[in-house]
């Protein structure tokens, strides 16, 4: 009898735990209006990059006179916030939008080590040389995208005011001139004890 009671109790506990488990819900990216965090989150990167892409397209400075796309390299985007964030979140969405616009092609020679390493296949007799990159055939970048993300915090009327600033520049590597600069600010008002790191 005791054995049955134990089995019944274990079953009841498992059932109870299962009932207490919180539901996980999916959020639609397109109309996500759920509560925002004080720290930087995906939606902040999305709105900052969208505003800057729209500005680049409005300005039209990324349109080469001959209609051909520019070759762009992603340079350093500095994270000067108190948070450990992956700045690729910002640069990735910008490069995707620019590539889709047809105005830019991105060279990955910095990020993808295989671009440089594949030149070693030239010496190998094991590989069909038809697919091996010829010497001097890598496309050199003409433009460079660089920037900085900064954070400032203030206590105003018992609330914490957090200001994030996304600054990006596109520089013409052939003459060093900046052809586009954009800045997007995201300001948040949170509880004064809100943690942003």
């Amino acid at each position: 009898m005791k054995k049955y009671i134990n089995v019944f109790l274990s079953f009841a506990v498992v059932l109870m735990l299962n009932a207490c488990a919180a539901d996980t819900q999916l959020i639609d990216n397109e109309n996500d209006t759920t509560q925002r965090a004080a720290a930087l989150e995906g939606r902040d990167f999305e709105s900052a990059s969208n505003a800057m892409i729209q500005d680049m397209l409005d300005m039209g400075t990324l349109s080469k006179p001959n209609g051909q796309p520019y070759i762009l390299v992603i340079s350093r985007i500095e994270n000067d916030t108190m948070q450990r964030i992956d700045v690729d979140e910002l640069s990735k969405s910008i490069r995707i939008a620019l590539m889709k616009s047809g105005k830019v092609r991105v060279t990955a020679f910095q990020e993808d080590s295989m671009v440089m390493a594949s030149s070693q296949l030239r010496q190998s007799k094991e590989f069909n040389q038809a697919n091996v990159r010829k010497s001097g055939s890598l496309a050199a970048p003409e433009l460079s995208l660089s920037g900085k993300i900064t954070q400032r915090e203030f206590i105003v009327s018992g609330k914490k005011r957090i200001e994030y600033r996304f600054s990006l520049s596109i520089t013409d590597l052939r003459n060093g001139l900046t052809i586009w600069e954009g800045e997007e600010k995201i300001k948040k008002l949170a509880d004064k004890n809100a943690v942003t790191w």
């Binding site: 109309n31 999305e46 990059s49 995707i96 939008a97």
Partner: protein, 125 residues
């Protein structure tokens, strides 16, 4: 006597009812709760790079917070996928003019449609 009074009252109510907003339904999709007095759009294709730019102008009837979004379509009417087609919250002021500028995400864009609503839900699906 009663009939005349009811008819007169109905006529009065009907004449006071706001005229429905007239707009180009091929270019705009506006939900009924958005209160506008007028809305128009003007598009140009930039000579320099063949990119389409659109300016939407209008007049708000009340102070309100609304969301707008623009979708772009190619010559075949197929939607062009872009991260820029996101809902954007905008505050409009009563009897004030608003101007929104949009530039197409690529040269493929041939037509567009602007969506305006006051409620996009909370996104939980």
């Amino acid at each position: 006597m009663n009939r005349k009074f009811i008819f007169g009252a109905l006529l009065l109510i009907w004449s006071c009812a706001a005229a429905p907003l007239e707009y180009d339904h091929t270019k705009f999709s506006i939900t009924p709760d958005v209160k506008l007095l007028s809305i128009n759009s003007n598009s140009v294709v930039r000579e320099r790079d063949g990119q389409m730019s659109v300016q939407v102008s209008g007049l708000s009837k009340t102070n309100q917070s609304i969301y707008n979004k623009i979708e772009w379509f190619d010559v075949n009417g197929m939607k062009i996928s872009t991260s820029l087609a996101q809902w954007k919250k905008v505050n409009l002021r009563k009897n004030s003019e608003f101007l929104w500028n949009f530039t197409a995400p690529s040269k493929r864009a041939a037509t567009y449609r602007v969506y305006i609503t006051d409620d996009i839900g909370n996104g939980i699906i």
